[in-house]
């Protein structure tokens, strides 16, 4: 049971990572002059949309968190709306935090906001897919011994990795190398993406190696 679950997780994560790679490659066939660095904003949009859509589809297909009771259509709609509001709020919150960390306030607002959207896709959207719009569950997952399934462990790892990646991505900005990727927010978004991908790959492996120690509380 557990092995099968880990394999499913690995497959899903690999699919996500593959989709990110594809977003960097495929659009250049359709769009004239598309490169990740040159038309970074377009790539940010494409990447966020693709990863978001794939996550939602995977969530619907795999159903890692079985909801205990069946809900009516109206409830589903309200859940969906709530998710949308949460996602938007997290974008705003990320934007505010990024600006407080030193991003320019007025110039390049679009870049900052799209970066915030990307970060939200990597973190908040995952939480929304797996845990639903339920803040208490989020709080529980992000504390020690809080994860209750391998999906939640994976969520912990990918979220922390993407945020760490974004943080490390800020490091090359002051260097005087004059590379195109040192421009705000390219290095940060690339860092977040690489962090997310690393998290996606690390998570199943880590769970596999620690499966003896990982005992999840059953409900």
């Amino acid at each position: 049971m557990k092995e099968a679950e880990i394999r499913r997780l690995l497959a899903a994560n690999l699919l996500c990572a593959l989709s990110i790679v594809l977003t960097a490659v495929v659009p250049s066939f359709f769009l004239e002059g598309f490169t990740v660095l040159g038309t970074h904003l377009t790539w940010l949009c494409v990447c966020s949309v693709c990863v978001g859509a794939l996550n939602v589809i995977l969530h619907l297909a795999l159903k890692p968190s079985q909801s205990p009771k069946r809900s009516s259509f109206a409830q589903k709609i309200s859940r969906f709306l709530k998710c949308c509001i949460y996602f938007f709020m997290s974008c705003i919150l990320f934007h505010a935090i990024i600006v407080l960390y030193g991003a320019p306030l007025i110039e390049s607002v679009t870049e900052t906001f799209l970066f915030a959207v990307l970060l939200s896709t990597f973190t908040t959207l995952q939480c929304l897919c797996i845990l639903g719009p339920n803040i208490q569950a989020w709080i529980r997952v992000f504390s020690k011994n809080g994860a209750m399934s391998i999906w939640e462990s994976s969520l912990q790892i990918t979220t922390v990795c993407s945020i760490l990646g974004a943080w490390f991505g800020a490091f090359p900005i002051p260097l005087d190398w004059d590379r195109p990727w040192q421009v705000w927010p390219i290095s940060c978004s690339l860092g977040a993406t690489f962090g997310y991908m690393a998290g996606l790959i690390i998570a199943p492996l880590w769970i596999h190696w620690n499966r003896k120690q990982l005992t999840y509380k059953s409900r």
Binding site: G102, Q136, A137, I139, S143, G146, W167, P174, R219
Partner: protein, 918 residues
């Protein structure tokens, strides 16, 4: 005539002189008007060989108003007029040299090495034509040292002995044909080269620092050129006939002389910047060992009592002994005593002593641990956990130190420090969350659902963090620029109000600044009132009540006078001159009176003795005529303490009486807060007016940091209330370096605020010490404030102690259960265990020194390893100088802060003993 520095440099060397006081940069006109009054009569009188007129107005105007100001335009127009009319007064055989000794930065300052500062104009004029050809399109640049031989030879005096400059040959071409001009230039070059060769020769006999092979090469070049020169001269003189290729030979000879002079200069400049690798490594090792010592000592401090004597006193004796031995050896060998070497050997000896004692003690403790095997295994796990807990603040410190090794990061440090500070605080919150300190312990029902909810005070913590982040971000608006980032514009707030042209904006900013000062005073006073420290009628409290507003009034008046334009006040000019000096002196005086009062009697406690009445515990009247709100505020803060002896004696007499003391619970912090506020006023006075916003942010951020620290402590439930965790110390220091930048400073020389030396001094300084202190205080303002405030990190959690979040040691709990009423012990908990208190202070100081020392070590290592880096003189060396000065200032202020706390402690002890006697 002009600048009176000439008189100081060459006393009684001038045939006639008109000197004027020059040191006050605010005074634009005295020197220039004085010169203009005497210049033309002197020129026309013709009683001179050389006339020096040193104008200062443009320089002072740059300092006061900056390069783009109407005042500067006026000054420059005046200079243009002066030149125009001076030219008319010149004779045909007069050469006019107009030279600036330096340029200026965007802000009008100089003293650094940026392109804009070291470039200045040179204007040469004579009525008789000087140049054979027309002037070149692009004016060429010449080194400033070239002026020396040129002027010397033009005046017909020998070139100064130690000159390494090169004559400006164009001025010696005369009015003959090209060949005679070239011959004349050649002779001039010959003289110049001879002088340089003589200097190099005698220099190399005395000092060995010029590389021998290069000297040899120069020598050969010189002798061959001179030989050729004499040969050519002989040819020219021997034959009246002009040799065919004379012109080209002359040209090549001149070229060789030039080559020689330039190479000689290059050799000198290169080798006069040389390094002592051995001393560098030694210094690095000393600093590193000191850091290690601080770390080890801070870890050891809690462990044993004999620690002080064995590990701190003996090594000191060792060090003194080593120094004495070295001194004796030097006396016997009759060698010159190198103070630096002796002190470093003494330091090394004392460090050896420390580590030796530590090593000797170490096995003992290891055996002690080993005797209890069950504890050892859990100790290992605990130690591992402690290491992991250490890893996160130390990781931030590691990044901070690593950033010193890259010139880009040093240049961008103004943004790196806030980034790391924000990350540290966010990590702290994340870690608290991860450890589950932020959530309420789960009830069974919640466990069933798998939900967790937050405690109430999480919102408080999050608000604090948000305020901190906003403060950090806002403080970035007060940045100064470095020339390495050309697109950077310095913050508008850095320029003094006097440079603002829009009167309405000026008034608005002025009012805002004054309001801000008043707000600061109000905040401090209400804080003190809240903790009941404003009730007594001691001189110090009276000073806080009345002196603080007075200080603010004086500062406001000073700003008003200083920011007014020169000509707007007309007849009141003299009054203004007096006021500009008087108000800062009033502030200095008041602040020093306040600090003296603080030292004499730092107790801000109001004691209400009710023993005579032997009545109720609740005092009917609070002693201060205060409003109902104050009344409610003060009551919960009453710290009622019955002395043990008193209690037993009185209980025997079966009458219950108490002493109600107001503000005893925060007596330490109150003294520190008062001292910090006074220092803050002084430092604000030294900065330009609008930087008081930055100071407000500084105080706010420090306050918020202390609260976050307290809050995190309460939530994490630390078992050890007397030790300050590393993250607090590191965040405190990060904030200190952040505000170094946010008060408009940069670790480069052009960015020093020289204006600070003239706050309260209209005329010349008699000594160099006072301006140095003023400029130093201005530069290291944030270092000073944060270092003095460092003990607050220890005290604040006690001050903010709330009954519900109180975490007592289990030992204490048992005793306090007996008492029905929960007491607000606050800082008096520190009094209960004096040894622990002093150990905690020592530990805090050592931790602070360790973090400071690590930063310094990183700077030192960067400057040492990268000493051949392209940017070493622009980035690493100034950074190293500023960092080491900051280290010295911080250490001194840290000592002062700790000694202030100890002074308060003594005062509290005497207060208690007096109470007991009564």
């Amino acid at each position: 005539m002009g600048d009176d520095t000439w008189e100081g440099l060459f006393p009684k060397k001038f045939f006639r002189s008109y000197f004027f006081p020059s040191f006050n940069v605010k005074d634009l006109h005295t020197v220039d008007d004085g010169i203009l009054q005497h210049l033309y009569p002197t020129v026309d009188s013709g009683e001179w060989d050389m006339l020096i007129a040193h104008f200062l107005g443009v320089d002072h105007c740059g300092h006061k108003h900056g390069p783009d100001h109407p005042e500067m335009a006026k000054k420059l127009t005046q200079m243009n007029e002066m030149l125009r009319s001076l030219v008319d007064h010149l004779g045909n055989d007069t050469l006019l040299l107009v030279a600036g000794d330096h340029g200026m930065t965007e802000t009008g300052d100089h003293g650094g090495d940026s392109e804009k500062e070291v470039n200045a104009a040179l204007f040469v004029y004579s009525r008789t034509p000087l140049f054979g050809s027309g002037p070149p399109e692009e004016p060429e640049t010449i080194p400033q040292v070239n002026l020396v031989p040129t002027v010397a030879l033009l005046l017909g005096v020998p070139i100064p002995y130690s000159n390494i400059g090169e004559v400006m040959a164009e001025l010696f071409s005369g009015d003959g044909d090209t060949v005679s001009a070239a011959l004349q230039q050649l002779s001039v070059y010959h003289i110049n080269a001879k002088q340089v060769d003589r200097f190099l020769h005698s220099y190399s006999l005395v000092a060995q620092d010029l590389p021998a092979e290069q000297l040899q090469h120069l020598q050969e070049l010189f002798s061959s050129t001179v030989e050729e020169h004499t040969q050519l001269l002989a040819e020219v003189q021997g034959t009246t006939l002009v040799p065919p290729e004379l012109e080209s030979r002359l040209g090549s000879l001149i070229g060789r002389f030039q080559l020689y002079l330039r190479e000689a200069r290059a050799v000198c400049t290169q080798s006069w910047a040389r390094f002592h690798p051995l001393r560098m490594v030694g210094g690095c090792i000393l600093v590193a060992a000191s850091c290690l010592l601080c770390y080890v000592a801070s870890e050891l401090a809690t462990s044993s009592d004999s620690f002080y004597r064995s590990c701190l006193l003996y090594p000191l004796l060792w060090g003194l002994m080593g120094a004495a031995l070295l001194g004796l050896a030097h006396i016997f060998t009759q060698e010159g005593l190198d103070l630096l070497l002796v002190s470093s050997w003494a330091a090394a000896a004392s460090q050896m002593g420390f580590f030796w004692h530590w090593w000797v003690q170490h096995p003992k403790r290891a055996r002690l641990v080993g005797s209890q095997p069950p504890l050892a295994s859990s100790g290992l796990r605990q130690r591992l956990r402690a290491w992991l807990g250490l890893a996160f603040p130390m990781g931030i410190l590691f990044f901070r130190c690593g950033a010193m090794f890259s010139d880009s990061f040093v240049v961008a440090e103004a943004r790196v420090a806030p980034f790391l500070l924000a990350s540290l605080v966010m990590l702290l919150v994340g870690k608290l969350h991860w450890d589950g300190h932020l959530t309420v312990p789960e009830s069974p029902k919640q466990q069933l659902l798998g939900f967790s909810s937050y405690r109430k005070d999480i919102w408080y913590l999050l608000c604090l963090v948000a305020v901190l982040l906003v403060c950090v971000r806002l403080s970035g608006f007060f940045h100064q620029c470095r020339e390495e980032i050309p697109q950077c514009r310095p913050s508008l707030f850095l320029s003094p109000l006097a440079s603002l042209r829009n009167t309405r904006a000026k008034n608005l900013f002025y009012l805002l600044c004054v309001a801000l000062l008043a707000g600061l005073v109000y905040a401090v006073r209400s804080w003190l009132r809240h903790y009941g420290n404003l009730n007594s009628s001691d001189p110090l409290v009276l000073f806080v009540r009345w002196g603080f507003p007075l200080v603010v009034l004086c500062i406001a008046c000073y700003w008003a006078v200083a920011s007014s334009t020169d000509d707007s006040l007309g007849k009141l000019q003299e009054l203004v001159q007096v006021a500009v000096v008087a108000f800062p002196w009033a502030v200095y005086g008041l602040a020093s009176v306040g600090l003296l009062l603080l030292l004499c009697n730092p107790m801000t406690v109001f004691a209400k003795d009710t023993r005579e009445s032997a009545g109720s515990i609740v005092t009917p009247y609070l002693g201060v005529p205060s409003s109902e709100v104050d009344f409610l505020h003060v009551i919960p803060q009453i710290y009622k303490r019955m002395q043990e002896s008193q209690k037993s004696r009185l209980e025997r007499g079966s009458c219950r009486a108490t002493v109600a003391a107001y503000g005893l619970g925060s007596v330490y912090s109150a003294a520190l807060v008062i001292a910090l506020t006074l220092l803050g006023f002084l430092l604000m006075l030294l900065h330009s007016e609008r930087l008081s916003f930055a100071f407000l942010l500084l105080f706010l951020e420090a306050f918020v940091l202390l609260h976050i620290h307290t809050c995190a402590r309460g939530l994490a439930g630390d078992a050890e209330p007397f030790s300050v965790p590393w993250y607090a110390v590191i965040s405190w220091l990060l904030a200190a370096s952040q505000f170094f930048y946010s008060t408009g400073h940069q670790p480069i020389f052009p960015a020093i605020h020289w204006n600070a030396a003239f706050v309260g001094f209209h005329l010349d300084h008699s000594t160099n010490l006072l301006p140095a202190v003023l400029v130093g205080a201005n530069t290291f303002a944030s270092h000073i404030l944060f270092a003095v405030g460092c003990p607050l990190l220890l005290l604040w959690p006690f001050v903010c102690e709330m009954p519900n979040s109180q975490r007592k040691k289990p030992k204490k709990e048992a005793r306090e259960e007996l008492q029905e009423v929960e007491e607000h012990m606050m800082e008096m908990r520190l009094r209960e265990s004096p040894e622990k208190f002093s150990v905690a202070l020592l530990q805090l100081g050592l931790k602070y020194l360790f973090v400071l020392g690590t930063q310094l070590l990183a700077c030192v290592c960067a400057a040492m390893i990268l000493r051949r880096h392209l940017m070493v003189w622009k980035v690493f060396a100034p950074k190293f100088l500023f960092e080491s000065l900051g280290f010295v200032v911080s250490s001194i202020c840290l000592l002062l802060g700790i000694s202030l706390v100890m002074r308060v402690d003594c005062a509290v002890s005497t207060w208690f003993s007096q109470l007991r006697l009564r």
